[in-house]
Symmetry: D2
Subunit: 98 residues, 4 copies
């Protein structure tokens, strides 16, 4: 990943929100490997399910960070610009993502 | 991961279910990296949220595989053995994981 | 509701679970009327949404009561009888209801 | 319910959205009575759970109607007025109601 790939284009997601999401995603990558390991080691199903639930909760955290950024930036700008399609887009997002 | 680490201990999760879960988890690991890349590339929030939703759906698939195995093996055995605690454990699992 | 309508047929749901569910459902009926009243009175959307969320939580409680009874009675009996279809039925129930 | 009780105050929820929600709520009241009847009649747990799931889906419909109205009216107005608290309120609503 070069500077030019990561740098200037961060227009939609604010830098702090992006950094927060990237830190969470790195941790999630590790948690997914943890679930893989637990299954390989033959751990009790309930422990595996608990760990999967933790990954899902962590992903909800990323989703929430990106959603808040989306509301504060994209949705807010679109409403101020009287974009007639923003409410449809928003409803679609809300009922697909938590 | 050596044979001895992965082999015999797979007592709780049946081999086919474990293999199915491991294949899904490998794909999920790649999807998490995909979300990371999208955020770094400054992609539109809605596209990022869509991709996160795909990861969550894929994780639900793993959870479902492990849960079915848990019901078919652990819960079934416990009920046949008249384990008095199995319904409490099951309810706890069901209302933590979906 | 006469004795004959309510009496003997309570075979699937245990009397205590049925009574618990019926008390909750009577309360839920009142809560639904409460939401109707709030909308008629022109109350703030967030207050209406909060009240709808309360009804949903109360319904989850009924669902949980009936599900626990289903697991303890129907699923337990079916597993002891080696019913080959019970795991399919259970998975279908779990992924349709919370 | 008199004219004066229902009429002018419908400021937050638009008349068409309120009418839509009220029709749905009347149907939901009937569905709740249906669940009560099924439990009294000793119906199979899975049928009761299916009916409860239908009520929950119907309530989600009301919630969605009120949420869309909230976004189109209250949130839109607040954003145009630069209300600094609207994003916090919205996030709170979204993560309590789906």
């Amino acid at each position: 990943m070069t500077e030019s790939e990561t740098g200037q284009q961060r227009q939609f997601i604010a830098p702090e929100a992006a950094d927060d999401a990237l830190v969470r995603l790195a941790k999630i990558g590790g948690q997914v490997q943890g679930v893989t390991r637990m299954i390989r080691e033959g751990r009790y199903c309930v422990d595996v399910l608990d760990q999967i639930a933790s990954v899902q909760k962590a992903l909800d955290g990323v989703s929430r960070t990106v959603l808040r950024n989306y509301l504060e930036r994209c949705v807010t700008d679109a409403i101020k610009d009287d974009d007639p399609l923003i409410h449809d887009e928003l409803m679609k997002v809300l009922f697909r993502h938590r």
